[in-house]
Amino acid sequence: MSANSNRIIRQTLTIARRDFVATVFTPTFLLFLLSPVIMLSFGLVGAGGATSMATNAAEKAQIVAIVAPDQQPAMRATDARLRRLFGRSDQPPVLTFETPKAQPASQARATFAGAGADTTAALYGDLAAPTILYGAQGRGDSRYLAELAEGTLRADKSGAPPVSTATFKPIARERASSGGHSQAAFFSVFGIFFLSLLLSGQAVSTMAEERNNKVIEILAAAVPLEAVFFGKLLGMFGSAVLFVGFWGTLASQIAALLPAGMAGGLGEIGPAIGLPLFVPLFFAYFAMAYMLLGAVFLGVGAQATTPRELQMLSLPITIVQVLMFSLALRAAGGADGWVTRFAEIFPFSSPFAMAAHAANFSDVWPHLLALAWQALWVAIAITVGARAFRRGVLQSGSGRWFRRAARAPVAGE
């Protein structure tokens, strides 16, 4: 390696180190590190509210069976048996009995108008051919009432208690399921997207910092601008790795803290390519996504001199980023089609889509190709970004396109 290359590497690392230290050893970084907790807290509060509303609604709901008193015990027993088929959150509304009066049809209609409980479905008439009324939310419940009538009659006609008694034993799969692969793919895409979104914001603020401090000229005088640019990316990448390491370690311990049943469920989620290969691949794709987006954001950030300009330029990029996310989510579904292939090849969605590919499929060679392809685009993005950076920050060039459109550039001294 030439002395020149050594010097550039050394200078790049000096800038990276400064940016890493300046980012990590601040109270703001703690906020950044804990941002998932903050987001999760908001999510939990929101979800808690929604669950509470749903629970309240469910507690007030009822289904009504207008049947003769002698049929009610059998129906109650059938209801108890059928309810075992549903999970805790999917239980049908509580079953209420009424004894038929002179006009059972009117009686059934009247249950929907009653105060205190919301009837979602009501059954009346002969159990062999019952009539079931249902409200806007009660279509499923009406079918449950029909099944209840069927089950009650069958039990009544056979006259025998249930003849099969099952023993339930949980079992943990040795390998992740196909559904688990898709889930792993979704988590990979979401993870990379979430991280790159958080960190690309940091890239823009780094530029704002350099502009305010006016240090950029000192850096540019000593170090090739490409090295300044790459050093800044590396510095931010270092803080990103710290972030990923922190949350990765926590996430790996989550299974140990969960109840046995839930931990078993997590065991079904896994990448098709195998965890030992998936971890470095995820990391590599995260690095590529980060470098690509970071280069774009740094280049864009260098063009803006005011927060308003920054917002104006960041918005379309964020929209494109979300578009890439959507594209990669399609690939995460595991569907083999042109959209998936496009997402895997298009440079800015490729890291997301290929991480999903690693979760869905076990072949290794496409990743070697994809990483080489993405590395090429990282090099292109850094070169183009550094030029934009030079033009924007040092005002060396023909001016900024969006400002040039508005007015003639001012010649600097």
Partner: protein, 308 residues
Amino acid sequence: MNDLAISATGLVKTFGGKRVVDGVDVAVPRGAIYGVLGPNGAGKTTTLRMLLGIIEPDGGHRSLLGHSHPRDASDRVGYLPEERGLYPAMRAKDAIAFMGALRGLDLKTGRKRAVTLMEAAGLGYATDTKIRKLSKGMAQLVQLLGSVVHQPELLVLDEPFSGLDPVNQERLEALILAERDRGATIVMSTHVMAHAERLCDRLTIIAGGKHRFEGTVAEARGLLPMRAHYVPDRDDPALAAFLPEGAVHQADGWRFPVPDGGVEAALKRLIDGGHGIAGLSIERPGLHDAFVRIVGASALEGAQEIAA
């Protein structure tokens, strides 16, 4: 070994269709303090940026410490830009060490030298102070120390005195002279003539993006004739008729260019006309006068170019 630390010929830079530097030549001898003078907007900063390789010229040739690519010599160069910039959260000694590290000095040595340099500059008490807590003048000195901590062969200072109070200006002058005594070549841009006159061995004057003058301070001053300062013994409106052409009345007397044959003939004429002499001195024109004349002439030339 080349005797020139920097040589450049015909440097050209265009921004947005306007030539802000138009054929500037620079030749900086090794070991000299070299001034780049010019009015605001003359193209000084752009010229320095091109010489250092921060921006690329659109035309012309340059050589910096023997390298046609200035970056190849970047570890041997120190630079104080016109717009001062330091990271506010850094401690002063770390900021100096960081700037040295960019130029190839390891951080540990950089910190040691930073402390020594700050003590020598009278800032020893502030080595661990964060930049944001320093006054503007102190921060500027810290930045200058950062540009010399790696002991460069060439030090380029863009408007180093701007914004400094007289005490810090004196400190800065002392630092520049100390660097020269160490053997460094110093290039500094300024539009304050007093500093250039005191410090510079040679200078170039740029105006309107063009090179207008290159030489020593004495040569610049030599562009103008010496002036006589005559104080009459009494006010007399008819006095002007007895003075040489170009005489100007000022609050403290009259000033006129010394004629080719000397002032004797003019004095004789005054005495013969009945005017006494309360005072007489011969003044050498300052760099300020030479600068105004050179830059004024170029402004006239520029106006003629626009009119044409």
